[in-house]
């Protein structure tokens, strides 16, 4: 399903907060249909990278090309309708809106929400259907994460960006979440995912990048990274 057309390309990206430089010149690309993961320790700059790609932060230099268009200076709210959707770190569901209203907000850029997409989401994340009238703030952490993912695909994106979807979840739920992401990817959505759970992420992904202190130190196809001793020691918790 992966074709050779590049959907997202980030070139020589630099990002900072005021005087603090966080991303120091990274290059990465995602092909249409791929699942790509970015691994890295806490504070490496993964979230910063994703927020810059989706337009919430502006880069100091470098460029971001999405679907053949330069979106480096486009505002976040204008990027969604171009086919990119970002489920942010910490879920950020709208707590005083119902589950269903959260999903409708996910489809904000569409004239009306797509019934088939909604049914599909309820199908792969059935808990959301049970909870559709409940306020999102009263959902469990796992349910909120499912909602954050469901909400992100309501806009029918070409590229889905996920920032630590398994953060703070019990192993059973992590499995459910990864199953759902796999399902989404099989249905033709390209996925860029940041994860602490490096093993699960590499098993899901076609390729991966390793980000350290704002620079990409390793990249390759998932099997290579899974078998690399450096990666195993740093991110997969294996001792030599």
């Amino acid at each position: 399903m992966v074709d050779n057309e590049i959907l997202l390309e980030v070139k020589n990206l630099h990002v900072g907060y005021g005087a603090i430089k966080v991303i120091k010149g990274i290059d990465l690309y995602v092909k249409r249909g791929e699942v790509v993961t970015i691994l890295g320790a806490n504070g490496a700059g993964k979230t910063t990278t994703l927020r810059t790609i989706s337009g919430l932060l502006k880069s100091t230099s470098g460029s971001i090309i999405f679907d053949k268009e330069d979106i480096t200076t486009v505002y976040a709210y204008n990027i969604v309708s171009r086919g990119m959707s970002h489920s942010p770190e910490g879920r950020k569901v709208f707590g005083t809106l119902s589950t269903e209203e959260n999903l409708f907000m996910g489809a904000y850029t569409l004239k009306t929400y797509d019934k088939d997409t909604l049914d599909w989401i309820y199908n792969i994340l059935p808990r959301l259907k049970e909870r559709r009238k409940q306020l999102a703030g009263t959902l469990s952490g796992g349910e909120q994460q499912m909602l954050a993912i469901g909400r992100a695909i309501m806009s029918k994106p070409k590229l889905l960006i996920l920032d630590e979807p398994s953060l703070g979840l019990a192993p059973v739920l992590v499995r459910d979440i990864f199953k759902a992401i796999k399902e989404i990817s099989i249905n033709g959505v390209t996925v860029l995912i940041v994860e602490q759970n490096a093993k699960a992420a590499l098993q899901l992904a076609n390729r991966g990048y390793v980000l350290e202190l704002g620079k990409i130190t390793h990249e390759g196809i998932s099997e290579e990274l899974l078998n690399s001793t450096i990666i195993q020691e740093a991110y997969l918790g294996k001792k030599r």
Binding site: S54, G55, L56, Y75, A76, Y77, N78, V80, S81, S85, H86, S87, P88, G90, K92, V93, F94, G95, T96, L97, E101, F104, M105, G106, Y108, T109, L135, G137, T138, L139, G141, Q144, R151, A152, S155
Partner: protein, 300 residues
Amino acid sequence: MDIFLQQIVNGLTIGSLYALVALGYTMVYGVMKLINFAHGDLVALSAFAGLTIYTSIFSNGGTSIVAVITVFLFTAMIIAVVGVLLERFAYKPLRTAPRLSAVVSALGAGLVIQNAIMLIWGPNMKIFPSDLFPSTVYDINGVVITFTQFMILGLSSILMIALYLFINKTKMGTAVRAVAINQDAAQLMGINVNKIIMIIFIIGSALGAVAGLFIGIYYRGITFDMGWMYGLNAFVAAIIGGIGNIPGAMFGGLVLGLFNALISGYISSAWAETFTFTLLIVVLIFRPTGILGETVAEKV
């Protein structure tokens, strides 16, 4: 009993006006976490602008439904534009500045509007004509309702129901609530936060404008500094109801209006303000987030 029912009617009338104004405070606070201290002065500006529009376009006088509708629509539009400009120039540049800067800017903007009113219309009280509404009086078992009161109660109810439906049942209204909860997440949905803030200022200012016109028509005497008094009462109403909460502002306005009217009827209107703040303190002691304030906490 008659005086009680009569004060209920009077209280609901003034309470509706407080509620209309309180909605402006609460919506801006809900979305921007900012107290728009200039809001009361927009209400005053509306009364003066409305008076000028009425007397200059309809100088022949006489009640005409067309005249009244024109005055309301024109004035609401003008005040909405002023509200949007206020946001654009006094608040937008300070969005990322410390909270206090925006508060100082709000107080300053209020003074600017107040002084502009004084420069344009003079420091003395202006009197609204008495013929905008018919002087019909309805007597229901000894309780008197004037046509003006009837209009205030009716139009305020319609506007508040419309606002409630807009916020809770429409896509745009849901987006307003989403922006109030988390602006970053709202942007990731494709929501233009600036546009939502503009809509908030348009709606809040237009509702304040309707209240300002009714204040002129109902009380007739208007002064350049009256925005302060009405603004303060409406602000208290918003806090009593739970600032940031739309039904809360409506509820707080009505409660405060009723409370004021009963104090004025049974004790003395001189005590109204003292009791207003006593009520505020009592509410805040028992319900620090206001009567309908948020109880559902967002899980982090």
